[in-house]
C-alpha cells in the first residue's frame, strides 16, 4: 500500500517532512518500517462496524433459532455458539502473535514486537473467557447436585497450563529492560508458546475421556449436535475473531502512540 494512501486514510493531508532534529527521540530504537507504523483507520472503522452488527445478529440468532432438545444439555447446547468460538479466537490470536514474533526475528522491527505482544494479550483474554464460560457451563449442566466446579477435565487442565505458558511470556517481557533485546528474546519464547498451543488445546485432550467431544472423532461436533446449529456456530466464530481483531488493533494503536512519545511500547 502506498504511503500516500496511508496518509490520507489517517485524515492528515500534506504532512510536511519532519526535520531530522525533531526525530532525535524516535531513532533510538530499530526504525519501524513505514508499512506497519500506521493503522489504516478507514479500514479499521469499517471492520469494527461490521463486527458489531455481525455479532449482534449472531446473538439474536443464537437465542431465536430453534434447536432440538437433548437430555442434560437442553438449552445449554446454545453455549456452542459462545464458549467454543472463544477457543477458535484464541487459536487465531496465537497464529497472529507467532507470525509477528517470527517477523521480529527476521527484521528486528519493534512494531512487530508490539503486534506480537498485543495479539498474545488479547488472545489470552479470550482464553480466560473460554475457561470461565466452560466452568459455568459444566457446573450447571453436568455437575448439578454436587459441589464440583472443577473436575480436572483433561481439556480444562491443559488449557489452564497453556494460559500459564502465556502468563510466563508476559512476565518474561517485564524482566527485560532493553526494548530491542526484549523483542528478540520474547519472540523466541513466544514461538515456543505458540508451538505448544495446538498440542495442549487439541491433541492431548482428545486422547482422554472428557466432557468435551473429540475422543470420538469430530472435534467440535458429535452425533447429537444438530446440523442446523452450524448456521449460527460458523458466523459466531467469524464474529468473535473479528472482535479479537478490533480489540487487538485498538491496543496496537495505543501502543504505537506510547512508543512514539515514551520510546517504550509496553502498555
Amino acid at each position: 500500500m502506498s504511503t500516500g494512501k496511508r496518509t490520507s486514510a489517517m485524515g492528515v493531508e500534506n504532512t510536511p517532512p519532519v526535520p531530522a532534529a525533531e526525530l532525535h527521540h524516535a531513532v533510538t530504537l530499530a526504525t519501524p518500517s513505514t508499512h506497519d507504523t500506521m493503522i489504516n483507520l478507514r479500514r479499521y472503522t469499517l471492520i469494527r462496524n461490521i463486527v458489531l452488527v455481525w455479532l449482534s445478529l449472531v446473538l439474536l440468532a443464537a437465542f431465536l433459532l430453534n434447536i432440538p432438545k437433548i437430555n442434560i444439555l437442553e438449552h445449554t447446547a446454545r453455549n456452542l455458539y459462545f464458549h467454543v468460538p472463544m477457543w477458535f479466537t484464541m487459536m487465531a490470536a496465537v497464529f497472529v502473535s507467532a507470525y509477528h514474533s517470527f517477523q521480529v526475528l527476521r527484521s528486528g522491527d519493534i512494531v512487530r514486537d508490539i503486534r506480537a505482544l498485543q495479539a498474545a494479550r488479547v488472545g489470552a483474554f479470550f482464553g480466560v473467557l473460554g475457561l470461565v464460560t466452560g466452568i459455568v457451563w459444566s457446573k450447571f449442566t453436568w455437575y448439578v447436585g454436587t459441589d464440583v466446579w472443577w473436575n480436572f477435565d483433561p481439556r480444562q487442565s491443559m488449557v489452564s497450563l497453556q494460559l500459564l505458558i502465556y502468563g510466563a511470556y508476559f512476565v518474561l517481557r517485564g524482566a527485560l529492560d532493553d526494548p530491542n533485546k526484549r523483542a528478540r528474546i520474547a519472540a523466541v519464547y513466544n514461538l515456543f508458546a505458540a508451538t505448544t498451543t495446538p498440542f495442549l488445546l487439541y491433541v492431548i485432550p482428545r486422547q482422554m475421556d472428557s466432557l468435551h467431544p473429540g475422543a470420538e472423532g469430530n472435534p467440535a461436533f458429535s452425533e447429537i449436535t444438530h446440523p442446523i446449529m452450524r448456521l449460527v456456530f460458523y458466523p459466531a466464530i467469524v464474529g468473535f475473531i473479528g472482535m479479537f481483531w478490533v480489540l487487538y488493533t485498538q491496543r496496537v494503536r495505543t501502543a504505537l502512540i506510547k512508543h512514539r512519545v515514551t520510546h517504550d511500547p509496553e502498555l
Partner: protein, 93 residues
C-alpha cells in the same frame, strides 16, 4: 466431597458411555451422591437451563467491557504523557 471420589473406574465409565449420549458419559448413571439442588442451581436450571446460556453470554460481555475500560485507561495515560511532554499533533500522528 472431593473430586477424586467422583472419578469412576474406567470400566464403569465405558459401560456408562455405551448406555447414554456422548456428553453425559461421565455422570449419567454413575453413583454420585446427588444433593438437593442449591438455590443458585434452581435459578440456573429454570426454563430448561436457559439461564446457563445467559450467564455465559454475560461473562463474555462483562469480559469485553473490562478490556474496553482497560484499553481506555491505557489510552488516557498515553494522552497524559503527551500533555506533560507538550507533544503536539502537528507531526502527522
Amino acid at each position: 466431597m472431593t473430586a477424586s471420589e467422583l472419578m469412576q473406574p474406567a470400566e464403569l465409565m465405558q459401560e456408562v458411555q455405551d448406555a447414554s449420549t456422548a456428553y453425559d458419559s461421565l455422570w449419567a448413571g454413575a453413583s454420585i451422591p446427588t444433593q438437593d439442588l442449591s438455590g443458585l442451581e434452581q435459578v440456573m436450571l429454570a426454563h430448561d437451563k436457559l439461564y446457563v446460556v445467559l450467564a455465559v453470554v454475560l461473562i463474555i460481555w462483562i469480559g469485553i467491557v473490562i478490556l474496553l475500560l482497560r484499553n481506555d485507561a491505557r489510552l488516557a495515560s498515553v494522552e497524559r504523557i503527551m500533555e506533560e511532554q507538550g507533544t503536539s499533533f502537528d507531526d502527522g500522528l
